[in-house]
Amino acid sequence: MNSIKAYKKIIIASAAVVLTSTVMTGCDDSNELPDRDYTLVWEDTFDGSTGDAPNPANWTYDIGTGVDGWGNLELQYYTDRTENVSLDGTGNLLITALAEPFEGSNYTSARIKTQGLREQTYGRFEARLKTPFGQGLWPAFWMLGTDFEEVGWPQTGEIDIMELRGQQPRVISGSIHGPGYSAAEAITSDFEILDSRFDTEFHVFAVEWGPDFIDYFVDGRLYQQLTPESLPDPESWVFNNKDFFIILNVAVGGNYVGNPTDNTRFPQTMTIDYVRVYQ
């Protein structure tokens, strides 16, 4: 990349930021986003003792390797062991990917979810977290429709609030998957941070979701607005009038991110300060 191009990019990004802050802090007639007047429904601030499992009233687990590495040829075996998922005793949840042979896999990690425990239609869903880093690490904060077992994927709908490729620690993606727009054809936008990295500091990732819209935020900056008009076929919007549940996981390898190399450092940890859900 030459420096002139990079400079242009920065200017554009700064312009976007200024615009966003205007939008976000306006709070009056000029505000283009309606004040959605959200109130907190539930939160998990991950308080507890070092090594504790996350609160079972909020979180359950996916275990194992799924089908074909959870559909993406991922390399990790998900467990509910505290080596892979536990509180750090200072108010954070740690999801840790380890390079270790386990049940035929070479890596272990964890994938926790609110399925059957905390399901909701519409609202603001946010998490403050710090990602892992390095080639082949794939942390995610995302949601699936509660009807996925009946209707299957991608018909159920998937809202990816934050995904990151470990080899690009300054870029996250926000996406939706549904019928006709899944996997490589998902509707997605990247958000690149220029003055920091997502693995060195905490950042807040959120969506505001309502009838016919999903808005994406990083640290309060709106960077993507999706509506049925964003889709190849507006009729295939599958995000109205149904419950979704939250998933937090760290995958290792697979189609999306590529596999780790000898230079990828392990263990790798996603540190989650809180998850908050508003209505």
Binding site: F133, R165, G166, Q167, R170, D195, D199, R265
Partner: protein, 480 residues
Amino acid sequence: MSYLKAFKNTNMKKIDFRALYVLVVLLSFGCTRTEEDLPEALFPATSDVFIDNFIGLGSDFYFPYLGAKPDVFSVDRSEGFESEASIRIDVPNADDPGGGFAGAIFRIDGIGRNLSDYNALTFYARASQAATIGEVGFGQDFEGDIHRAFLSNLDFTTNWKKFIIPIPDPEKLLQEKGVFQFAAGGIGAEGQEVGYTFWLDEIKFENLPEVAQPLPQISGGNNATESAFNGITIPITGLNVIYNVDGTDVSVNAAPAYFNFSTSDESVASVGENGVITLNSTGSATITASIGEGANEMSALGSVAVTSTGEFDFAPTPPARDADDVVAIFSDVYNKVNVANYNGFFQFATTQGGAIDILGDDIISYTDLNFVSINIFDAATVDVTDMTHMHLDVYVRETVDPSDFIRLELINNDGGGSTQSAASVQLQTYSPLLEGRWVSYDIPMTDFASIGTPDDIDLIFFVSDGTISSIYIDNVYFYR
């Protein structure tokens, strides 16, 4: 006054700013200012080294390495990264009479810089053909190289590309003069490398958010073990800091001064700021390290577990002999012939080591032995025709199994022609090799009968085929 000169060349804005800062300090702390406040303010935080021209380096800043071709450096006014000027380095052919490689430091001719606000040295580079550059770094000043840090094997391409060299611990660089360093050889088979050209531009220190996740290492991140004797010094090797630069790990070789070293038992082993361990008494201790101070201190991966087995057990001192009665190859007592080396690192040889100094006494130490030779082919003819015996002392540093052997082989009149001759004996047939003890061998020259007349000994081989890998040898001589 040298620092004024350096100031002249620095960015005007920075000077203004600094002057203002000094003024503010004076105003607010006028009477409480301490002397320690003063020196730091003298060192400019200038970031730029070369941006189409040298910035603040003074006039005498280019110092080539010993053995490097000195005149490889110029400023090219027809090439540059988005500009009209760059540094041009013409890497010579290996057989260039002026020097077989390109390498130099850029040292500020004036006062050093305070680089503690930056976290990386960055530059753009391209080469006339794709080439791997041996080293690029900073902190080398030929005045101790205290803060040397560098990347190895950088791949330059024919297109301009940005390189980032993270600074292991910027807090250490408070008055740094060594702002750039490079070393590069030609391309091709060893000894026949062909030269090429590369260009450098936009050399500067930066504070980049993409440089993160430092992981310091000693012993390359491994838990190394070393066993030696009281008084022996052992340098810690494998010092580096791995940084993740925008998603990719980069390993920076870092001088010992970037690290804090500590020992688990000072009475057994101490460790200096230079990263050299000294064994003080019998026992074991573990050396560990960290980088940074206070809240920023970070433990280094890796350690060195050292054991001192006690006083070094020296080989018996040979008796006094008339000069005519001895031809010495390796000895602290007799006059020695001129030996080329104690390890030629021949192809297929795994053997490491050679002559070492233990508390002022020379001995030969070999590890990973399969075969090795003492090479005396450069010397005047080593004629032992009149000698009756060959002597040597051997100390094995490992368990000796029944099938282990050391074969001693002499080559006379080396050169492969019809006049070359050889003879060998098996040491253990004279006296068993012993673990942890010196064994003296006095071998009659008649046992080397197949050599014919030993009038030009050129090589003395020790061959174990790996059955014994770690030995000391001392007092190698022929006598009568």
